[in-house]
Amino acid sequence: MSLLEIKNVKLKLDDKDILKGLSLSVSKGEVHAIMGPNGSGKSTLSYMLAGRDGYELESGEVFLEGQSLSDMEADERARSGLFLAFQYPVELPGVGGMSFLREAVNSRRKFLGEEELDHLAFVKEARKVASKMFVKDEMLKRAVNVGFSGGEKKRFEILQMAMLKPKVSILDETDSGLDVDALKIVSDGVNAQRNDDNAIVVITHYQRLLDYIVPDFVHILSDGSIIKSGGPELALEVEKNGYAGLINAA
């Protein structure tokens, strides 16, 4: 059984067809990359999966571990193990990083029937994970994403992913706004979380991220559907010939 199953989904925004019958199957232990030009529907796909208001399906269905997501709100999907690393992480003024993380982690633990972590246990765990991600304690004391640099925001996203231990992680343009050093740190953080039980879907415009997070499968998204799938070599083809060549060939 696949971990994430997207079946022929169609979605409109403002009466415009954005996703036009997209299907994708992701199994445990796999990393999939979805590449596509601007306006191909990449961000719409990630919001649709995460269950954002206004991104309801017109037809088709999505399953997480065999369970349909249709009737699940965004927060239920998150607690069930679906994680979205945002392209533009949102600022929460006055909300401390540590308290935010703790609320999130305890919501997930409660859902899994695990005991909620008390303050001390949580801080200990968070510090351990943070140090691996090169996230300084000081950053956890600041308000969520407020005044963070582009690199810090992305690192904090991946730190949250590491703390929440999701089944399926969708990384939406995680490389945007990162210099090479930051890209490496973030990628290392993601790679450290790859295991046989979870799956990662990397949504990206450029191939360079895939040098660091090497995917098992690459899919080309164009005009609301996947027009070509292959191995990592497909990403190199995009790099060499651009999207236009692939789209015209399809």
């Binding site: 965004a74 998150a78 994680f83 949102v90 003024p93 909300v95 935010f100 609320e103 929440l164």
Partner: protein
């Protein structure tokens, strides 16, 4: 830290939308309905007051008769029938209590429902609590420890008997009977409240706290609190309020007077959670309060912190009169108005002495159809050279049917002073909500988190045990306002 899911669940369990909406079945001893000279005399007689106080009350009553209710606040409510209110009611308890065992068990159960078991409070929190139940204080704790320091902390009715000179000297010295309509009314009919006296050089070793409850139907509450801090002292006073659910409007017109001498500091914190009325604005408490502190001494400091989540109508402007040179006034406020609630609240900072400083941080949150107004006055008088004020006034809107208003009055009579005013208005964005939901928080948790983040600068001014309670309250008050 924010309101936990448990808290929210617990509240949902209660069938009523208002957590503290139960009524204690206690037989009250009442004055006859309505207000007149005879009622004022009845109250004074019940309390075995000296003649000077009765005369003072009667003078206030006459003054009140000649006054008009203020109508400048942005609040709208039917005219109050002052003849339809009971002005005195007392639970039937023994007048002298040697221990908590002697307190009416029914009363103790009420406090337990409120989550403030007296014994636990005593032992765990180290807080001396002067409980006001309806109008008469029934249990006062930690008196001995405080007495060792020479601190007086007792019901004001008791202080009238035991320290009449102090009461006579200071009552009405900050807020004269003619100050405003509701202060005059309070002066005529106040029933009880707290009295605190900190003698020279003493730092009060614990937070002093009073829990108020309005209980008897139709009995407006008219507390009167007086805190006097002599030279080189410090005291922190907490006031928290909850009230049972009622259909009829209940009037509350309290007066709080603070006096700070040389180098004295008074910190006064309030969490107000009275019944706000139902979604359509039926019922709920009218909270018309006059609070003012006199910084008489040099380098004295008075700091007001308030978290206002309850009441149908809030009309409240805790103020500081900065007479002493180098004195400091502070006002930190969070006002939450949801559904049909109306809040018109703020402060007055009157700079009289040289080099006086004031800081105003106000956070207003409006949801539902509520109207939330910040109204503040900063006055720098002619001799207040070198004085400074900083005001920051932020409003957060939830939904598109509520309103936020900011009405600052700035009067500066000397060029040698600096006044700054900053104001912002924002909304909880859909992006913020979605971000929180995507991390597994539900809408209530997310709202509570974002709103508490918005209020953080004020919340950190609250004493620790109060801050936790207040954060939960803010979350609870806004339930159902998003999504």
């Amino acid at each position: 830290m924010v309101a936990t899911q448990e808290t929210i669940d617990k509240v949902k369990e209660v069938s009523s939308t208002y957590k503290y909406g139960f009524v204690t079945d206690l037989e009250a001893e009442k004055a006859p309905l309505g207000l007149g000279e005879d009622i004022v005399k009845f109250i004074s007689h019940k309390k075995k007051e000296p003649k000077w106080l009765l005369d003072w009350r009667l003078k206030a009553y006459k003054k009140w008769l000649s006054m008009e209710a203020p109508n400048w606040a942005m609040v709208d409510f039917p005219k109050i029938n002052f003849q339809d209110i009971y002005y005195y009611s007392a639970p039937k308890t023994k007048p002298k209590l040697n221990s908590l065992d002697e307190v009416d068990p029914e009363l103790l159960r009420t406090y337990e429902k409120l989550g403030i078991p007296i014994k636990e409070q005593e032992v765990l929190a180290g807080v001396a609590v002067d409980y006001v139940f309806d109008s008469v204080s029934v249990a006062t704790t930690f008196r001995e420890k405080l007495a060792k320091e020479g601190i007086i902390f007792c019901p004001i009715s008791e202080a009238v008997q035991t320290h009449p000179d102090l009461v006579q000297k200071y009552i009405g010295s900050v807020i004269p009977i003619s100050d405003n309509y509701y202060a005059a009314l309070n002066s005529a009919v106040f029933t009880d409240g707290s009295f605190v006296y900190i003698p020279k050089g003493v730092k009060c070793p614990m937070e002093l706290s009073t829990y108020f409850r309005i209980n008897e139907q139709n009995s407006g509450q008219f507390e009167r609190t007086l805190i006097i801090a002599e030279d080189d002292t410090y005291v922190s006073y907490l006031e928290g309020c909850t009230a049972p659910q009622r259909d009829e409007n209940q009037l509350h017109a309290a007066v709080v007077e603070l006096v700070a001498m040389n180098n004295a500091e008074i910190k006064y914190s309030t969490v107000q959670n009275w019944y706000p009325g139902d979604k359509d604005g039926n019922g709920g408490i009218y909270n018309f309060v006059t609070k003012r502190g006199n910084c008489i001494g040099k380098k004295s400091k008075i700091s007001w912190t308030q978290v206002e989540t309850g009441s149908a109508i809030t009309w409240k402007y805790p103020s500081c009169v900065l007479k002493g040179d180098d004195s400091v006034g502070e006002f930190y406020s969070v006002a939450v108005a949801n559904n049909a609630q109306q809040a018109d609240t703020g402060t007055k900072m009157i700079h009289i002495g040289k080099n006086t400083k004031s800081t105003i941080i106000s956070k207003g949150i409006s949801a539902g159809k509520a109207q939330n107004t910040y109204r503040g006055q900063v006055q720098i008088q002619k001799n207040a050279k070198g004085s400074r004020n900083f005001t920051q006034c932020d409003s957060l809107l939830i939904g598109d049917k509520c309103g936020a208003h900011t009405v600052p009055y700035i009067n500066q009579f000397t060029p040698h002073a600096r006044v700054e005013h900053e104001a912002t208005t924002s909304k909880i964005s859909e992006d913020q909500l979605f971000y929180c939901l995507q991390r597994g928080l539900d809408t209530e948790q997310a709202t509570s988190l974002i709103v508490n983040g918005f209020c953080k600068e004020v919340m950190k001014e609250l004493p620790m045990e109060f801050a936790v309670e207040a954060q939960k309250l803010i979350g609870i008050s806004l339930e159902g306002s998003v999504g």
